[in-house]
Symmetry: C2
Subunit: 243 residues, 2 copies
């Protein structure tokens, strides 16, 4: 039983979801992401419904229990994004994600901050992206905003952590997301990090979907970790998400 | 070289698209469909952009040339659908699809008719859905509307034709879409129809995507047909779409 807490099933076919299930993944968190910058905020509101209704159904077809995460990814902020923020404010959610900063411009910082404020008031766990480019610098800016808001440690997973920003995230006290995928960490690297810093706050995920085609990377990492996998490939994700 | 003119790549993963390419499919027409009924017309306008930009890019990654078809499927008509219609009217398109009737209620008929009127004025080929339920009755209503508008024969493909409505569509003079997929025609049945009625107006497709997981059904049918496949699995689709 594995829990993959960072997946984008929109972009994953049914036979691929079946392979993910066959690798041992029984539960996932499915994160909002629109693959182009939408022209309309309404598009994201419908995308959240698509996750909750249709993608949840598709996952159930292959025996995967899916938890939806909603929010505005920094690469797809629509015009009039306050319409989306108001929608997030007015409803209840399992988690926010994928949110965070890509270039840390003013608009991104505002969008990110608004999600975090809602998350604090409603006790919503947040899966927070760190970018490939300028990872260390953007992670610092991300952590600054979290600190300013006194964001609860147990409610934030800083994701796509690698050797560039690991020390910062370890020191921050937030959950540490280790993404095992082409162009990110290898399963061996993720296992090495878990063994070095301990399993208490690490959470392994695949970021599978769209461009990222390898579906069984949580299973690959679990295989290397053996008994240590229980926490970082299942228990910690459930604890973080409160599911 | 095969042309699959009815695919929904949103819902097909990259490894699956690769399998489609490996089966011999080099070109596809990718049809709009939103898997839940959108709450906003804007959602469909962004979906059309997603097809044209992102899905086209994904197909190019595996060596498939993609032509987008846009329009409002009868199962996902949003409120204020005239906003979408105006957007369709104001721009140029390769094709309209998937459009047509599901239950033939008044709203569906209006939406369908409005697409057809634009298609006539702009010379846009239309891929027209026929439903699983009440296929014969709904096909009759579909053909009635086409007749009322004196819709050009070369611009409409009546799709998902099977033994229930084959005679009606043959008599109508429009292109005959033979969808080879689980729950629709088998490759053997499609080949049988082509041999019985001739290859001049038949076009084989897969309707792959979302629930429909078999990706190589055009190739399966081509294998049975041999030399006859050239027209119904490639040339006719290109001629119909004008690409």
């Amino acid at each position: 039983m594995l829990f993959d807490p960072h997946v984008h099933t929109v972009g994953i076919g049914l036979s691929e979801l079946r392979k993910m299930r066959e690798s041992g993944v029984t539960e996932i968190c499915n994160l909002s992401f629109y693959p182009i910058r939408p022209l309309f905020p309404q598009t994201l509101i419908d995308e959240f419904r698509r996750l909750e209704e249709f993608e949840s159904f598709r996952c159930s077809l292959v025996g995967i229990k899916m938890f939806p995460a909603v929010g505005i990814h920094p690469r797809c902020i629509p015009p009039d994004y306050l319409t989306v923020i108001e929608h997030l404010e007015a409803n209840d959610w399992v988690a926010f994600g994928e949110i965070g900063l890509e270039t840390a411009n003013e608009k991104e910082r505002d969008v990110f901050r608004r999600h975090l404020e809602i998350a604090i008031s409603k006790d919503i766990p947040c899966i927070i992206h760190t970018p490939s480019r300028n990872k260390r610098e953007i992670t610092e800016k991300t952590l600054e905003i979290l600190k300013e808001l006194d964001f609860p440690h147990e409610l934030a997973l800083i994701d796509h952590v690698n050797f560039e920003n690991l020390d910062l995230v370890v020191k921050s006290g937030f959950w540490i997301g280790l993404t095992v995928q082409e162009g990110k960490l290898s399963a061996e690297e993720a296992a090495k990090i878990v063994r070095e810093i301990g399993e208490e706050r690490c959470i392994v995920n695949s970021d599978a979907g769209f461009g990222h085609g390898i579906l069984d990377t949580v299973a690959q990492t679990a295989k290397i970790l053996g008994i240590e996998a229980k926490k970082v490939c299942f228990d910690n994700a459930k604890k973080f998400l409160g599911v």
